[in-house]
Amino acid sequence: MRLSAQQICVDYGKSRVLDDLSLTLAEGEITCLLGPNGSGKSTLLKALSGALQPVSGQVVLGDRALAQWSGKALARQLALLPQHPVAPEGLLVTELVHYGRSPHQGFWGARSREDDDIVAWALAATGLEAYGARPLSQLSGGERQRVWIALALAQQAPILLLDEPTTFLDLGHQLEVMELLTDLNRDHGLTVVMSLHDLNQAARYAHQLVVMEQGRIVAHGEPAATLTEGLLARVFRVRGQVESDPHSRQLSCRFHSSLNYTIANENG
């Protein structure tokens, strides 16, 4: 189902965080949101998930605005993994992943055989079969992030929104999460939208890049067409080079210096 933002504005108090922003997400592809801190990536993800109401404009899923979807029906279509998810103390991995079934369950939250099967599948897809009976608190950061992804998978939503899923992980675990998402996208046709800070990872794993600055989208397209040296300088205030490997056509950025810092020092 197609998810798009149509001229949305979002305010936090008096300051405008998203400014007349429109975006249509490519179905069945991985889209990465890039941009400096405070450019509105998290806010856009929250608005796309329905957790935040725009003051004007609307987010449309399929044939209706998000506001016209019931909470449960919406939860069956899209899942959001927040930047800092919290779980109650002592909760077991299976118990948490089972909560992903709640949009499919009745009022009393009764579990069906089907729920058990889907939870088992979600644990297997994230490589967590052996972890089911463990408390979440005993897992490493990377394992915990996989549990949260398993929760979103158990939700069986075709659209998965993730807010900086790799930020607090070491490099090995970052790549693990990115490859897991790539597999899920390829094998199950999931539409994945995530905010990232690492431009090289975004260039490597995303089909589409969306670059944001001060609540607006300043570039949107395939990595090779979007990630340019001019963009690095203008948006990220970084002097760097973008190179394309002649064999794999893989993009990579090399950074030299911060433009802001250099200018400040020269002026001082």
């Binding site: 929250k46 998930s49 329905g50 957790a51 019931s70 909470g71 449960k72 029906a73 919406l74 939860a75 069956r76 899209l78 899942a79 959001l80 993994l81 927040p82 800092h84 998810p85 919290v86 779980a87 109650p88 103390e89 002592g90 909760l91 077991l92 118990e95 909560y99 992903g100 709640s102 949009p103 369950q105 009022f107 009393w108 939250g109 009764a110 579990r111 939700q155």
Partner: protein
């Protein structure tokens, strides 16, 4: 409850602990019925239990009187009050995302206390005269209703003050503490300034006591208990999702603000009606939920019923201890819940880590 076999899923050790606590509960109930100023031998208790409620027709009129007019209502009220306070605490700790939350934090105890103190102040010799119709009403019969209303009014005020922020936990806790402080200051001030004549009765009530509670209190409380029993099974799943934080809960299809509001109203009704009957019994709502959590985990489908059971046990056991304490007067149950509950709480916390 979706999974009646949950007891069997617990580890052997925890299962034994839960079953052990249930045994203690049964023992506490029996001791509470047997022991007191008049000791009823077990045989007589058994006979009296199964004979007619009519005192004169039983095997022993005094025993029947003691059992049916004094100890049974007191026991039942203790069970209901304890269960309600503990369940309210469990709900509040989830909704306010704060392990230190209980009904004090929403001003419920303060509001109930203020109306109770005012009622005592305007009554002379335990009788309140309503000027308009020249009615004379015993304050004992007005007290549960007035105190319940006071608790609900205070909670309502806290909700009103926090509504602007979408009932966020931080705002609720801050407004609740502010309102509770003002109410407690008023209670202290009124008591110090005008309270001499009734100070002793008021002080016992403020400590939380089951002394002299008869069937009238049971009938006053029962509708709220039944409402809780009826609605709580439906609240377990939303409360589970609320534990995951606002964003995750929304993403899982929960109407967060609506369920926060419903849970708070439910907890307020349970706590305010319980406090109305016996006064602000401390620590039950605070201590019991973490103990239940340590025993059966955070899943509210287990934690809510176990909290209710443990709360009932704590209050009844504490009342037994307070009643049987050697000395002229009995200790108010609220004093004992604090004295008994806190060491147990610390023990459980230490075992957990």
């Amino acid at each position: 409850m979706s999974n009646p076999g949950w007891l069997l899923q617990l580890s052997r050790h925890r299962l034994m602990l839960v079953l052990g606590l249930m045994l203690v509960a049964v023992a506490a109930i029996v001791v509470n019925l047997l022991a007191g100023a008049v000791t009823l031998p077990f045989g007589l208790l058994w006979q009296t239990l199964w004979s007619s409620v009519d005192a004169a027709a039983g095997p022993d009129a005094v025993a029947a009187d003691v059992l049916w007019q004094l100890r049974m209502p007191r026991l039942l009220l203790g069970l209901l009050v304890g269960g309600q306070l503990a369940v309210a605490g469990a709900i509040l700790q989830v909704v306010l995302r704060n392990p230190l939350a209980d009904s004090h934090i929403l001003g419920i105890s303060g509001g109930a206390s203020l109306l109770a103190v005012l009622l005592f102040l305007f009554a002379s010799d335990g009788v309140l005269t309503v000027a308009v119709w020249d009615w004379q009403v015993s304050t004992l019969y007005l007290m549960p209703w007035a105190a319940t209303a006071g608790g609900l009014l205070a909670a309502g005020l806290v909700f009103r003050l926090s509504a602007a922020g979408g009932l966020t936990p931080m705002r609720l806790v801050l407004c609740g503490i502010a309102v509770a402080s003002v109410l407690n200051a008023l209670v202290g001030g009124i008591l110090a300034g005008w309270g001499h004549a009734n100070a002793e009765t008021v002080l016992a009530w403020l400590a939380g006591t089951l002394y002299g509670r008869d069937w009238l209190y049971i009938w006053a409380l029962l509708p709220w208990s039944l409402l809780g029993l009826l609605l709580l099974p439906a609240m377990a799943k939303p409360l589970n999702l609320l534990q995951l934080g606002e964003e995750s809960a929304t993403s899982l299809g929960l109407a967060v603000t609506r369920w926060r509001g419903l849970s708070l109203v439910m907890a307020s009704l349970l706590a305010a009606s319980a406090v109305g009957m016996v006064g602000p019994v401390g620590f039950v709502g605070l201590l019991v939920p973490p103990i239940a959590r340590a025993l059966v985990g955070s899943d509210m489908r287990r934690q809510l019923p176990l909290s209710g059971l443990l709360g009932a046990l704590l209050v009844v056991a504490a009342d037994g201890v307070g009643r049987l304490m050697p000395g002229a007067n009995e200790l108010p149950v609220g004093v004992v819940t604090s004295l008994v509950g806190v060491p147990f709480f610390i023990y459980v916390l230490r075992r957990q880590s």
